[in-house]
């Protein structure tokens, strides 16, 4: 028999979908700003393997010479990014949903089993509630990353007024590097996230819009007692 299983709260869905376009705009405008002093490279054994960013990438996204525009967008949407994040964290704490989200003591061990299962190395996935161990780690990490982006962002935006934040972030240079690496982290998260969502299928995706999933439960004999509650 089909039943409706509540999965994602309205607040969580709202914050998720609001964050998506805002973060996209922040990353885009951030690249317009980064272009002004694009000194970061990825080096291995003294050889530059990759330069952020290659010319083809810049020209494909029309990044060059839009520094002022990038700053104007970045310093408007930072408010929405922060506000949405604050609302989400507050909601998650107050509603108690953090219990489903924060990694548990065994999550780090279990996440390996999830990974092995996802890579088809291991047959069985560990039992889970709403989120599996890997998801718990990923979805908590992304919130910490968001906080990190706001803090390092403020540290490079107002390094004199918020000198203590700049100090906390290891100085102006280091704050800018963390701010940049966190952004790479979002892109990495996004890629994995999309692959996982595609693999998980429509039902799972749909629940992030509708809030519920349809599950098929075998019809139970009417007289049998369900003593799950008493047992637990």
């Amino acid at each position: 028999m089909k039943t409706i299983k509540e999965k994602h709260s309205l607040a969580m869905r709202w914050c998720h979908w609001v964050n998506f376009p805002i973060l996209t705009i922040m990353i885009w405008s951030g690249m317009l700003i980064y272009w002004g002093n694009d000194t970061y490279t990825f080096s291995l054994f003294g050889h530059t393997v990759f330069r952020f960013f290659p010319d083809w990438f810049y020209s494909a996204l029309k990044i060059p010479a839009h520094l002022a525009e990038g700053m104007a967008f970045h310093f408007l949407f930072m408010w929405f990014f922060t506000l949405n994040g604050v609302l989400y964290v507050l909601y998650t704490i107050l509603s108690g949903e953090w219990r489903e989200l924060v990694p548990k003591r065994n999550s780090f061990k279990e996440a390996w089993l999830v990974l092995l299962h996802d890579l088809h190395i291991r047959k069985m996935a560990p039992p889970q509630k709403k989120y599996n161990a890997a998801q718990r780690i990923a979805y908590t990490a992304i919130i910490i990353m968001g906080i990190g982006s706001v803090v390092t962002g403020l540290a490079i935006y107002k390094p004199v007024q918020f000198y203590y934040l700049t100090w906390l972030c290891g100085g102006y240079h280091f704050a800018r590097i963390i701010h940049f690496i966190l952004t790479l982290g979002y892109v990495f998260f996004f890629v994995i996230h999309i692959v996982q969502v595609i693999l998980a299928g429509w039902k799972n995706f749909s629940s992030v819009i509708s809030g519920f999933e349809v599950v098929n439960e075998p019809a139970k004999p009417a007289i049998q007692h369900t003593n799950d509650e008493q047992a637990s």
């Binding site: 089909k2 002022a68 525009e69 104007a72 408007l76 390094p159 700049t166 819009i209 509708s210 809030g211």
Partner: protein, 263 residues
């Protein structure tokens, strides 16, 4: 309500409930996504500020947002918030030259005959020579100069604190005004500064760099060093200083940059 017209409400079947909730949520999602896209199009396509204003070069709503954001961050500004300073040994030998607007080499300029002009009320002009400025207490600063482009450099500057200059020449009453304007002698480069930033204890009228007299490309004979602002506000070769209650014109604010540009 007539009871006869309405049939008693039937409990929805599970299938109906699913369809109904799916319809409502997907329809709202589509409408909101469309609204968000429309909002973005509106913002992206919104017209630029009218040319010839104090600020320019960016979309009107974005300028409004920059100005509102300025008001917010002005509230955390304090004279007690000082830029971090470094030992002299950490400063670069020759500071980076990023721009020569207002001091192009082909233009005629004689530092020997230069005098700083402070425009006072009623059009009276106070003329100050470099010797008079150098006779005032000297302040040195070694700090991380930050460019709006994203680079920074530890540099060593020396000069007179702007607030000391103000007090010495009895210009105190002008600090009650809201803005200070500074321009190069040829009027090609100009900046507007809010008064709290201008009279911040680390704001200098500098005549020395790296322990030596200032060179022309760095803004000789006298330049502004204002560590609470990005480099774009650190005007080289100051010609005139004005005071006003409205924003003085500002070179980069006309090109789409934030007027405040405070750090």
């Amino acid at each position: 309500m007539s009871k006869q017209a309405k049939k008693p409400k039937k409990e929805l079947t599970i299938e109906q409930k699913i369809n109904r909730r799916n319809f409502i949520s997907f329809a709202s999602f589509t409408v909101l996504a469309g609204g968000a896209y429309g909002g973005w199009r509106w913002l992206y396509k919104s017209p630029e500020e009218v040319a010839g204003g104090i600020t320019g070069g960016t979309r009107k709503p974005l300028r409004k947002a920059l100005n509102k954001t300025e008001l917010f961050f002005r509230r955390v500004f304090s004279d007690n918030h000082l830029v971090k300073t470094y030992p002299k040994e950490m400063a670069v030998k020759g500071a980076r030259v990023n721009s020569d607007i207002g001091l192009e080499a082909k233009k005629k300029f004689d530092p020997a005959t230069w005098k700083l002009q402070v425009i006072k009320k009623g059009g009276e002009v106070l003329q100050v020579s470099l010797q008079e400025i150098m006779a005032l207490p000297k302040t040195e600063i070694v700090y991380d100069f930050k460019c709006v482009e994203g680079w920074d450099e530890i540099q060593h500057w020396a000069g007179v604190k702007f607030i000391d200059f103000i007090k010495h020449f009895k210009l105190d009453e002008y600090t009650k005004m809201e803005y200070v304007g500074m321009e190069t002698p040829d009027k090609a480069y100009y900046v507007g500064l809010d008064m709290p930033s201008a009279i911040h204890p680390q704001t200098l009228l500098a005549y020395e760099m790296s322990g030596k007299p200032l060179q022309l490309q760095h803004g000789a004979p006298l330049r502004l060093i204002i560590p609470v602002k990005y480099g774009i506000k650190n005007l080289k070769r100051i010609g005139t200083i004005t005071f006003s209650n409205t924003r003085p014109r500002d070179y980069w604010a006309e090109e789409g940059y934030d007027y405040y540009s405070g750090l």
